[in-house]
Amino acid sequence: MTRITLGGAVLRGTVATALMASLMSGSALGAPVDLSKWSPEYVRSIAGTQDFDTAADCGKVTPLDYKGRLTFWYQGVFEGDPDLLRQYYKDFFETFRKTYPNIQLEDQALTYNDLLDKFRTALLGNAAPMAVRLQILGGTEFAAKGYLQPLKPEDVGYPTEDFWPGAMKAVTWDGVTYGIPTNNETMAFIWNADIFKRAGLDPDKAPATWDDVVKYSKQIHDKLGIAGYGLVARKNAGNTPYRFMPQLWAYGGGVFDEATASPTYKDVELNSPQSKAALQASYDMYVRDKSVPVSALTNQQADNQPLFVAGQLGMMVSHPSDYNVMLDLQKKATGADKEKAQTVIDNMRYGLIPTGPDGKRAVVFGGSNIHILKPEYVEGGKVDEPAAKAIICMWTSPEWSLKMAYAGSNPGNLNGFKTKWMKERLDSIKFLDVTTSMLPYGIPFPALPQSPEIMNIIVPDMLQNALTGAMTVDQAADDAAEKVKNLMDGL
C-alpha cells in the first residue's frame, strides 16, 4: 500500500502558530510533552519512553481499599465504532472493579446522540449520576448552569499542563475548571484510491481544497455512477458539525470568530460571504451535481461506512478507527462481498483535510470530558467524591486515556503518548500519523453553553434548509444566523 507523503503539509501545520495559539498556552512549552514540536516524527520519538503505574498513581488519590458507591454515565461505544474499542471499554471497567473492589460501581453507557437528552432530563429531576463523561460540547453548558463541581486535573493527581490547552478551555467556565478531558481527536480525509483511479483521478493524492472535493465528487459520480463524497447532514447527530465545520472554517467562515486565535464569540458570522461559500459547496454537491448520497439528510457517518466498504462511496471525513471498522465489516461479509471489501481496504487512503480557497485548513478539535456533579442534582443527594475521583483518575491516566482512545482518538492526558501502548498503537493502527498530524489544525467548538444547540440543531437545520430547497443558500444562512443571534439573546 502506498504511504502518504505528509512532510510538507505537516510542517506547515506544526508552524501554523495562529491556530496553535488557540490550543496552546505559554505554560505548555514547559509541559512534559512539548506541543511546540508536534509532528508525526515527534510523536514516534516519545512513544514507549515512559512507564506508568496507574493503580499506584490513583491509589494516592483514592486509597485502593476505599469502600464506597458510584453512579457513572458515559458516552460509550456505538454502532460506528470498531470491535477493538468495545474490548477496551470492557477491560477498563473490569480493571476498575479489580483495582477498587470495594467501590460499588453502577455504570451506564449511552450513545453520543442520547446522552445529552437523558442527562438534561435527569438533572431536572435531581436524578443525575455522581460522575459523567460528556462530549466536549457538554462541559461548558452544564458548568455554566451550575450543575458541576469544580474539578481540575490536579484534583486527581495530574498537572493541568499534561492536557491539551484547547481541551482545557472546553471545561472552563468563568475562569473555573469543571472537568478533565479524557480524549481529544481530529479527523482526517479518507478516500478510495481504486475509485479515484477508475474515475481518472490521481489515486494517491487527496483533493487539495474543498473546491476540489466538489469537483472530484462530481467526476466520481459522473464516471462511475456512485456517490463521490460522504456528506452528512442529519440533525441532532454529532457527525454533522464534525464534518461541516471544517469546511465552513476552511472557507473563512464560522458561527462566530471561533476559528481565530483569540475568539470573542461576539459577532455571528454564519451568514458571512465565506460561510455562504461553504454552504454553497455542499449545495453544489447535493443539489446541483447530485454527487453525494441522497440519504445524507437522514443518515450519519455510521451509514457512510457500509457504503464505503461496498465500494459505493469515494471520499469521506472520519477517524483512523474507520480503518478498523472496515476490517470488522469485511469479516462479516461473505463471498464476492468479502473480496470487494478487501479491495476497498487495500485501497483505503488517509490524508489531511482539504483547505479552503485561501489555503486555510481546519478540523474540529473534538473529544470528551469527565465531570463530578453537585450533590443536590444527584439521585439521593449525595456524591461519593473519593469514588468519583478514583474512576476519573483511572480514565484520565496516561494508560487508560490512551487505551480508551486506542483506535479512534488520542489520549486526553498527553503522557499517554509516551506509553508503550502508544508505540504499539502506532504500529498497529494504520493512518494514525495522519490524524495526529491534523491536531494542530484543530479548532474547538465555541466554549459557550449554547454550543450544543448551535452545533446539533441550528447548523444541521441550515444545511437541510439549503439542501432540500426549502430555502436558498442565502436564506438558509441568514435564517441560521438569526437563530444564533436569538439564542445568544436568550430568546
Partner: protein, 319 residues
C-alpha cells in the same frame, strides 16, 4: 302514583346536600378505600405533571439557565407559539398525519375485517399474518422501513431500478414533499391491524338472524351491509376511529426514528416538535405551552370517546 325512573334516582344521588354527600361517602367508604391507591398513583403520575406543565407554560426558561431560574411571562409563550410560522406548519403536518393515518388505517382495517369475517381456507393464517405489523416493536419497524425507503440503496429503489421502472431510487424520506406521505404509509401499515381487530370483534355482535331475515326479504349484499351490518358497527367504529386519532396525535416513534422531524422540519408533528423544543433546545416553557395546547385538543377527542362509550353502554342497557 309517582314513578321513580333510573335517571331521577341517579340525579338524586348526584345532587345531595353536603351532609348527604359526606354521609354517602362514609356509607361507601370501603369502595373508596379500594380505589384510593389507584387515585393516589394517578395524582402523582398524571395530575402533578399536568399541573406542573401548565405552570411551566407561563414561564420563560432560557436554555442557558437552570429551570429554577425561570421567569414568569404570562401568556407570552402561547402568543409566541400561535404567531410563529413553525407552529402552523407543524400543526398542518399533524392534521395531515392524524387524519390520513386514521382514515386510511380504519378503512383498510374494516375491509380486512369484512374479508376475514367469512369462512375460507387459510383464514387463521392470514389473520395472524395481518396482525404482525401491530405486534412488532414500533422501533424495530421504523428501522426496517428506514432501510426499505433508503434513498440510495433501499429495497423499493433497488426493485424499481432493477425492473427498469426508474433511473435512480426514488427519494422517499430525504425530500420535503414526499417524507410525510412516506411516514404516513408506515404508520398505516402499523395501525390497520388494530382497526381490523376492533372491527372483527364488532362484526361478531351483528345478529345472524337479522342478516338472514334481510336476505329472505331480498336484500342484496350491499343492502345487507349498509342497512344491517354497518348500523350495528357504528359505535365500535366511532371508538376505533377516536382511539386511532388519539394515538396518531401522540405518535412519536416512527417520525422521530425515521427522520427526526426532518428534512427541514418537513416531518415534524406536534410531539416530535415538542420533544425537540424541550430536550434538544431546552425551551421548557414553550414546550410546555405546546403540550398544554395538545392536551386540550386531546381532551376534546377524549370527550367524544367517552360519549361514544357511554352511547354504547346506553344501547346495551336498553337492548
Amino acid at each position: 302514583m309517582t314513578i321513580v325512573t333510573g335517571k331521577t334516582e341517579a340525579r338524586r344521588r348526584l345532587q345531595p346536600g353536603s351532609s348527604g354527600l359526606l354521609r354517602n361517602i362514609w356509607k361507601h367508604r370501603a369502595d373508596y378505600a379500594y380505589v384510593l391507591p389507584a387515585i393516589a398513583v394517578m395524582l402523582i403520575v398524571i395530575a402533578y405533571p399536568i399541573y406542573y406543565t401548565v405552570e411551566l407554560s407561563f414561564f420563560k426558561t432560557p436554555p442557558g439557565l437552570q429551570l429554577r431560574d425561570k421567569s414568569f411571562i404570562g401568556l407570552d409563550n402561547y402568543t409566541a407559539i400561535l404567531t410563529s410560522q413553525v407552529f402552523w406548519k407543524v400543526t398542518l403536518n399533524t392534521l395531515i398525519w392524524t387524519i390520513a393515518s386514521t382514515f386510511v388505517a380504519f378503512v383498510l382495517g374494516f375491509a380486512a375485517a369484512l374479508a376475514l369475517h367469512r369462512e375460507f381456507i387459510g383464514r387463521g393464517v392470514l389473520r395472524a399474518i395481518l396482525i404482525i405489523p401491530w405486534v412488532i416493536s414500533a422501533v424495530a419497524a421504523s428501522y426496517i422501513w428506514k432501510w426499505i425507503y433508503h434513498s440510495d440503496f433501499g429495497i423499493i429503489g433497488a426493485v424499481l431500478v432493477g425492473l427498469g421502472l426508474a433511473d435512480r431510487p426514488p427519494n422517499f424520506i430525504d425530500n420535503v414533499s414526499t417524507v410525510l406521505p412516506s411516514l404516513i404509509v408506515v404508520n398505516i401499515w402499523r395501525e390497520f391491524p388494530f382497526a381490523m381487530i376492533m372491527m372483527m370483534a364488532g362484526l361478531q355482535t351483528v345478529p345472524d338472524q337479522l342478516l338472514r331475515a334481510a336476505e329472505v326479504d331480498g336484500a342484496n349484499a350491499w343492502q345487507r351491509f349498509w342497512h344491517v351490518t354497518f348500523p350495528h358497527l357504528r359505535n365500535v367504529s366511532t371508538v376505533t376511529i377516536l382511539l386511532l386519532a388519539v394515538a396518531n396525535f401522540n405518535s412519536f416513534i416512527i417520525p422521530w426514528i425515521m427522520t427526526g422531524g426532518g428534512p427541514s422540519n418537513a416531518s415534524h408533528i406536534w410531539i416530535t416538535h415538542i420533544y425537540e423544543l424541550a430536550f434538544g433546545r431546552q425551551r421548557w416553557g414553550v414546550a410546555s405551552a405546546y403540550s398544554v395546547l395538545l392536551f386540550l385538543m386531546l381532551m376534546v377527542l377524549g370527550y367524544f370517546y367517552v360519549r361514544a362509550l357511554a352511547g354504547n353502554e346506553r344501547k346495551e342497557g336498553g337492548a
